[in-house]
């Protein structure tokens, strides 16, 4: 009798977590189902205005990307932008974190202020900067730059200006993220190595290079991971400012897939491009997460 109860109880114990997970799993299925549907569409010639031509085309949509001139450019910009954004944001973020780690008056206030851009809807911050970068009317940014001797910058009308403006807007919103995480990391560092280094007469730069950075590595890799993933799929800022132009200079894979699907209604092709972007994100995230684990392990040792 009692053995039976215990077994029943054990079975309930093993089933319980799944039971608890059920509502979330149902919602998860609600997310995975449309994705599977989309995956299926990526193998079809689904084109809204030609419903009669709907066919299963295997890998045609993927293969045709290879001789699609825009694809090469979009891939190039996706990767180039990601590298530039991550280097810029992590570099500046580290500098800000080190700066705020020093004895700064009003550090709490600065820290609180920095949360504001971070929590702004990206599309709204893009609009704010768009107003400031206006070149036809009274763009305040060019006006202010004129005081430091910079000629008016053609923000959205030139390819370089457009790339720069997207980079600036994205950096404004996400620099605080990097800075705050790294600041948290700095404040959690042990003080012994520094005291030992001071006794040895190490220069501040040497301390940074040989103590701070290695100890900070897990935090650095974490921020790099998050920033890389978000930069690979940036959409809102580009949509609200340049829409991929001019001369496709700011078209990334995300914008390209959007255009195919919602401007030209080629749902099959758009979906195939979305899947390619997804695969890219998954591959990069796999690499970065492995890197993160390794650095966490070596730090633990």
């Amino acid at each position: 009798m009692s053995g039976k109860v215990a077994r029943g109880r054990r079975r309930r114990e093993t089933l319980l977590p799944y039971l608890l997970l059920t509502p979330a799993l149902v919602l998860l299925c609600g997310m995975i189902y449309p994705f599977c549907l989309g995956l299926y569409y990526s193998f079809t010639s689904y084109w809204l205005q030609y419903p009669k031509r709907f066919r299963f085309v295997w890998f045609d949509n993927y293969v045709s990307l290879l001789d699609e001139p825009l694809f090469g450019r979009a891939l190039e910009f996706t990767l180039g932008f990601t590298v530039a954004a991550v280097v810029l944001q992590v570099g500046l973020g580290l500098a800000i974190a080190l700066f705020l780690h020093g004895r700064i008056p009003g550090r709490g206030a600065i820290r609180a202020m920095m949360l504001l851009p971070l929590m702004m809807p990206p599309v709204i911050s893009a609009l704010m900067w768009k107003i400031m970068m206006a070149s036809t009317n009274a763009g305040i940014l060019n006006y202010m730059l004129s005081f430091v001797g910079v000629d008016p910058i053609n923000w959205f009308g030139s390819t370089r200006g457009a790339v720069a403006s997207v980079l600036i807007i994205d950096t404004w919103g996400n620099l605080p993220f990097v800075a705050l995480i790294l600041l948290g990391g700095l404040q959690a560092l042990p003080s012994e190595p520094y005291e030992a280094a001071k006794v040895d007469g190490a220069s501040p730069f040497a301390m940074l290079r040989y103590i701070t950075l290695p100890l900070l590595a897990p935090f650095l890799i974490l921020t790099i991971t998050f920033r890389t993933m978000d930069s690979l799929r940036i959409f809102d800022v580009i949509y609200a400012t340049t829409l991929g132009g001019p001369n496709d200079a700011t078209t990334n894979l995300h914008i390209m897939a959007y255009q195919y699907a919602f401007q030209w209604y080629q749902m099959g092709k758009g979906m195939a491009q979305a899947i390619v972007l997804l695969i890219l994100v998954v591959m990069v995230s796999y690499l970065l997460i492995r890197l993160w684990n390794r650095s966490a392990e070596s730090n633990a040792q």
């Binding site: 036809t136 009317n137 009308g157 340049t242 001369n247």
Partner: protein, 468 residues
């Protein structure tokens, strides 16, 4: 005591005034209702039904919204609407039409858009409604009051590559636009600049304006989208080739790389790069329009009716300083402008087709369109009776010291929808516009970029099954 009486008088006066205002509005509404009730149509035959109207942001849309309660009163039909900027509007529209669920009953469309919708069998021919005496009082509605060219622009027999002006009518035009040159007469006079009649002269004039007045010589739309191709640029190209060139040959092969087109593109891009605004590549029509009305450009080649904005002294710094002329022409000296009409059509999948047609008939009735023009600057009128109304004549006649009306009248002699009818017109324009960017940013020569665009368009046409 006195003060109280004063207070009372004031109150009564106020009440009277309010009543006066109410009766005034009432009178206007009664007048409108009696106007529509002259039509021998049972306006209430679809009472209780609901419509959703899809609208693009436009002065016509603005004119329609305050009148919707009037329509509700007349017909007992409930009206909901969605208004979006042009690109988002067409995205939502195609999405809805393609699902055949009939969310939008009445849509704002136009000839080139119809080609896409008709090929996919998404919109209704309107002739069946027009010819149904239960639904339309033809003598009252007067289809013949619309400019014939505009009505035929909205007809198509569905044959890819030909047949515009034949076959069923798919939408009723609410305005007309053709493309002309507007220039700063004050600057041209002051520096003795010649009003251009060829593209080379236009480039020279732009150069002169920039040199003397220190502002861009010309503004034009430049975003990499179909919206940049159809107006000034396209009409200029058609005129430059004496009406000979078109974007496809007889077998639906793209001919953007035709030598004449290449030459024209080179001249145009050189002009824009040399004398245009620095942000040309990011300019929508409203940016171009805003720059010109702010006095920041010497010339603009775009829709004729933008004049309504240029000449509005409340918004424009250049009102009264503008001259109008035909687009520069080719060796033949004749202009071939494009033509566009915003127009109302009906979704084939809508369940309330009769109600939808009653709405279209009401929204394109003479009284409604007259109100749109006089009250909301909806130019140019699609009905002759509106154009010829003395009040409208007075307003339009004053623009450019009379040169506006004369120019438009001459333009309309030859203006037509000259694009080859096929459902991928929008895509073709997007690809074409991107080619211009390749040239502008010097990544390719005009010949290379246009050849590449032609190849790409051929691919799309083939993929869509429009050609074997």
């Amino acid at each position: 005591m006195r003060s109280r009486r004063g207070w009372l008088t004031g109150l009564m006066f106020g009440v009277l005034c309010a009543m006066g205002a109410v009766t005034g509005a009432q009178a206007q509404e009664d007048e409108a209702l009696s106007y529509f009730r002259q039509a021998k149509v049972d306006w209430r035959q679809a009472a209780g039904q609901s419509l959703t109207i899809g609208l693009n942001k436009h002065p016509f849309t603005e004119s329609l919204l305050p009148l919707i309660p009037e329509f509700r009163k007349l017909t007992g039909i409930n009206v909901e609407y969605l208004i979006l900027p042009e690109s988002e509007y067409f995205t939502k529209l195609a999405a809805d039409l393609s699902q055949q669920r009939g969310e939008f009953s009445v849509i704002m469309t136009g000839p080139m858009r119809n080609w896409q919708f008709v090929s996919a069998d998404w919109i209704s021919p309107l002739d069946e409604f027009l010819n149904n005496p239960k639904l339309t009082d033809k003598a009252w509605f007067k289809l013949e009051d619309f400019y014939p060219a505009l009505i035929s622009a909205n007809r198509w027999n569905g044959k890819i590559g030909s047949g515009v002006g034949e076959g069923p009518l798919y939408s009723i035009p609410v305005l007309e636009e053709s493309y002309i040159l507007a220039y700063r007469k004050d600057i041209f006079d002051q520096y003795n600049i010649k009003v251009p009649t060829t593209l080379e002269e236009m480039a020279e004039a732009a150069r002169q304006v920039k040199k003397h007045a220190g502002i861009p010589g010309i503004v034009a739309r430049g975003t990499p989208s179909v919206a940049s191709m159809g107006t000034g640029f396209g009409s200029g190209l058609k005129s430059y080739t004496d009406g000979q060139w078109s974007e496809f040959d007889g077998k639906l092969n793209a001919t953007l790389h035709d030598p004449r087109s290449v030459k024209y593109t080179e001249l145009w891009i050189d002009m824009v790069r040399e004398s245009g605004p620095p942000n040309w590549a990011n300019m929508q029509w409203y940016d171009a329009m805003e720059a010109f009305t702010a006095g920041q450009a010497g010339m603009i080649v775009d829709a004729d009716f933008f004049a309504a904005g240029y000449e509005d002294p409340k918004k424009s710094k250049v009102a009264g300083k503008i001259g109008y002329a035909l687009i520069p022409t080719g060796p033949g000296g004749k202009v071939y402008s494009g033509l566009w009409t915003w127009a109302l059509g009906i979704n084939k999948a809508t369940k309330n087709k009769e109600a939808a047609w009653l709405f279209v008939q009401w929204a394109t009735a003479q009284r409604t369109l007259m109100n749109a023009t006089l009250g909301y600057r909806n130019y140019n009128p699609s009905r002759m009776s509106v154009t010829n109304d003395p009040r409208v004549q007075e307003i339009m006649g004053a623009w450019g010291a009379g040169s506006y009306l004369k120019t438009v009248a001459r333009n309309l002699e030859t203006a037509r929808v000259f694009w080859v009818p096929e459902p991928e017109r929008t895509r073709m324009g997007d690809i074409w516009a991107r080619a211009l960017h390749e040239v502008y940013f010097k990544r390719m020569t005009a010949a290379e970029a246009l050849k590449k665009a032609s190849v790409e368009i051929d691919k799309v046409i083939k993929e869509a099954g429009l050609k074997d």
